[in-house]
């Protein structure tokens, strides 16, 4: 504390703005902001430790769990190289499988949900309310709860149509498409309701058909919510383990979730941990980029009631 400050104080004492300038600015700062920063930093430490650990493991040239510490001690790209050269780790195939399944599944299910959401938002018909309620109920039942039945169903589908049975990507995709319907229909209906109906009416007067209104007007206007629902469906599919592990059992046919799990299994070589971490890091680049760029929309989508899988 400087002399001038000390001398100034008694002068300023009776004045009103005392509080605002503060006797001890630091104490005031602590009371107002300090604890906030403290909480944030503490929570961030908890939140970031595992992520730092993965990064450290991915660049650890030894690649074993025992030689990995929180902060890297040495550095190398060996794990990433092995990810694409080790014949026992078809990471490229896994990545491709996940994308090939998740992208079309998300795309088609979002399209179908948007159709249904349009009907619920713009048409009035008998049975609309019960159907909405039923949809609300069904979205509480994730598809994997009936995993035994799905397994049996696709076992018999495979007898008639080998392209869509167990052990096929198409079969798994069909399940994922059905599973995402309820949630995204609800999200999208909520958004469609906020698009003024006067727009539809104006378009109808201009001679537009219902299909033209939907494809030409509603869909473009609803782009943000479609993006969010699509991303949530995509991420949910990428993260699914239970169905993917049942459907795709051949090593080169696995998805990322099932494939990466085999790398940390007890009977895998110890040095696979580094490869696993490198694979995790590459996988997260995709999801993190998507989340970061759409942060704002995702927050509003979440408050609308979506739960990430």
């Amino acid at each position: 504390m400087t002399v001038s400050q000390v001398r100034e104080k008694p002068v300023a004492k009776p004045a009103v703005p005392v509080r605002r300038n503060g006797k001890r600015p630091f104490a005031k700062w602590v009371g107002e902001f300090g604890w906030r920063h403290l909480v944030a930093v503490l929570v961030l430490v908890f939140g970031l430790v595992p992520i730092v650990y993965v990064v450290s493991a991915a660049f650890n040239p030894n690649g074993t769990l025992s030689s990995t510490s929180l902060l890297p001690t040495s550095f190398g790209f060996g794990n990433f190289k092995k990810l694409f050269t080790d014949p026992n780790v078809p990471f490229g195939r896994w990545f491709l499988n996940s994308i090939v399944i998740a992208v079309p599944a998300a795309f088609i299910s979002i399209f179908i949900s948007s159709l249904a959401a349009y009907a619920f938002s713009r048409f009035r018909f008998r049975g609309r309310r019960p159907m909405l309620l039923f949809l609300l109920l069904i979205q509480m039942f994730p598809a994997f709860l009936a995993v035994v039945a799905l397994y049996l169903i696709f076992g018999s589908i495979g007898e008639f149509y080998p392209v869509a049975g167990l052990n096929t990507k198409l079969g798994l995709m069909l399940v994922y498409m059905g599973g995402a319907l309820g949630v995204s229909t609800w999200l999208m209906k909520g958004f469609f309701d906020t698009i003024p109906k006067e727009l539809d009416e104006a378009a109808t007067i201009d001679g537009a058909t219902h299909a033209q209104i939907f494809f030409g007007m509603i869909l473009p206007l609803a782009a943000p919510i479609i993006a969010i629902s699509g991303i949530l469906a995509f991420v949910g599919t990428m993260n699914d383990f239970i169905l993917a592990s049942l459907f795709l059992t051949d090593r080169p046919e696995m998805t990322l979730a099932v494939g990466l799990k085999t790398l940390t299994a007890d009977n895998s070589p110890a040095s696979y941990f580094g490869i696993f971490a490198a694979g995790t890091l590459l996988t997260s680049v995709l999801t993190v980029a998507v989340f970061m760029s759409l942060q704002r929309y995702i927050v509003s989508g979440l408050t609308g009631g979506a739960v990430k899988g």
Binding site: V39, A40, P50, I138, P162, T209, D240, L260
Partner: protein, 515 residues
């Protein structure tokens, strides 16, 4: 006239009409493609169902009155096929004994038991043997006729020709479409399952495995309609049919290896409620399942709310950076991070023991394993809670807080009496769905602990949830019991339905969603 029609018609423009015709043509083509295998298999019910679906689709898109149906039908069909039908089938299966040893019908079971008594007859066909599993997990003998090199697939149900199989130099099948062919190591490991398998080829003949080959022969066993029993002429054993349990039993009550699928009523349910070997562990799982879900919601909500309160200050510097970093755990692929956490809890080399200088065997004890899954699951879930809490805090009506401040309510009081109740009203539906999500959080348990710790000889692990327990009953290493697993699934359905009912009560006030 034309003007008016164009307003109600589905596709008045030329382009629209062309698209519509193209889509319906694709539907028709798909329908023909889908019908062919059904006709080949003479599955007339399936064909009728398919025709009905196609007829509905064509009707909906060609009519002009109920336009909403055109938008609803794709989703409805998909929802029925992959959400509603599985639920109904689960309920149906839960009343049966479907599973290993009870996969086939009674006639096939009789044939299989007779075939198991096959003795080689001189001059009978011999086969080179491979073994595989069909896509639906059925154990199958993949046979190459030693005489003419033709290839066959044999199951409990009988022998079918397998024309597209790939054979190696010795004539053994190495790959076949629709089958997962075992290698030698697996063949050795699962020899016991093979010994039990017999492929019937006729009334009293069948194929049996011997080492790496198989032979056809006649059986010493025969089925007698009068007593509904199977007699082995050589050993004198008699198996009587128990039509309620779906098995053939000797007089000592020893079941034959193959039974058949029957409706066993509510046995799977009563077993859960009355069988002490199942009831105790089941109640244990159930309690822990609720604890896990409630604990996860509470912990994530507490941390998320605390952080949101801390960052809900527009004049604070760095909030953007904090928020971006806090979304990071949420944006990471959750399955991979669960696997990372599983490694971090490794006893000898894991980060957790390392950082805190502990020597806890996390997977060893029930409660340490439970603490472990809760910690990891909290890590996964709190950013979500943070985001929704922050959103809800910013949407709170500022006038009630102002009024409270004027009335003299400060910090903690204002939070407890005003902020928290208002928040809870807004967030209850989300908290309930979070509870429901965690109640069935298969990934968190399967990828972290796999249900462990297991006590010796116990089918139930210390961290098992109902869903992981059901999954293991159906697909675990031990014998598959689809009936019992389905019964557990139905319990889960009921619990989830109850949660939904509670949630409806909270959302009923928000009537506007239906408007």
């Amino acid at each position: 006239m034309l003007e008016q029609r164009s307003r109600t018609a589905g596709s008045a423009t030329a382009a629209g009409l062309i698209i519509k015709i193209a889509v319906l043509a694709v539907v028709a083509a798909l329908a023909v493609w889908a019908a062919l295998p059904l006709i080949a298999a003479e599955a007339w019910w399936g064909l009728a169902l398919e025709a009905a679906i196609v007829a509905v689709v064509f009707y909906v898109y060609l009519q002009r009155r109920a336009i909403q149906l055109k938008y609803l039908i794709p989703g409805t069909l998909l929802l029925i096929a992959f959400q509603i039908l599985p639920v109904i089938l689960t309920i149906g299966t839960s009343f049966s004994n479907y599973g290993d040893g009870h996969r086939v019908d009674k006639d096939q079971a009789v044939e299989a038991i007779i075939a198991a008594g096959v003795q080689q007859t001189p001059g009978g066909a011999t086969y080179r043997l491979s073994v595989g599993e069909s896509a639906s997990g059925e154990l199958t003998l993949l046979l190459t006729d030693a005489a003419d090199g033709s290839t066959w697939a044999g199951t409990e149900a009988g022998l079918t020709e397998l024309p597209d199989a790939t054979v190696d130099g010795t004539g053994r099948i190495t790959a076949a479409p629709g089958y997962d062919v075992w290698d030698l190591a697996e063949l050795n490991e699962r020899q016991a399952e093979l010994a039990a398998l017999a492929v019937p080829t006729g009334e009293e003949s069948g194929i049996k495995v011997q080492g790496l080959s198989a032979f056809e022969g006649t059986s010493t066993r025969s089925y007698d309609d009068a007593c509904d029993c199977i007699t082995d002429a050589e050993t004198g054993t008699v198996w009587y049919a128990d039509n309620e349990a779906g098995s053939f039993l000797t007089e000592d009550g020893e079941p034959a290896l193959v039974g058949w699928r029957v409706n066993i009523g509510a046995d799977n349910y009563t077993a859960v409620l009355t069988d002490p070997d199942i009831r105790g562990p089941f109640l244990g799982i159930f309690t822990w399942n609720i604890l896990f879900a409630a604990g996860s919601v509470l912990l994530t909500f507490a941390i998320g709310l605390g952080t949101a309160m801390a960052l809900n200050k527009p004049s604070m510097r760095g909030t953007k950076v904090y928020r971006t970093l806090m979304i990071l755990p949420y944006a990471m692929p959750s399955f991979a991070m669960l696997l990372v956490w599983a490694q971090m809890f490794n006893r000898d080399f894991g980060l957790v023991n390392d950082l805190f200088n502990l020597d806890v065997n996390w997977y060893g004890g029930t409660w340490s394993a439970r603490a472990m899954v809760l910690i990891a699951n909290t890590w996964l879930g709190w950013p979500y809670m943070f985001l929704i809490c922050l959103g809800a805090l910013q949407a709170l009506p500022s006038d009630s807080l102002e009024a409270a401040k004027i009335d003299g309510a400060t910090g903690v009081t204002a939070f407890r009496k005003i902020t928290l109740p208002l928040l809870l009203i807004a967030l209850t539906p989300l908290l309930i769905s979070s509870f429901a999500f965690n109640f069935n959080n298969f990934n968190a348990i399967e990828l972290l602990s796999g249900g462990s710790p297991f006590r010796a000889g116990d089918a139930v692990g210390g961290t098992d949830l109902l869903i992981t327990y059901a999954f293991r009953q159906a697909f675990g290493a031990t014998t598959a019991d689809y009936g019992f697993a389905s019964a557990i699934s139905v319990f889960i359905f009921l619990i989830v339905a109850t949660m939904s009912a509670v949630m409806f009560r909270f959302t009923r006030n928000q009537e506007d969603v239906y408007s």
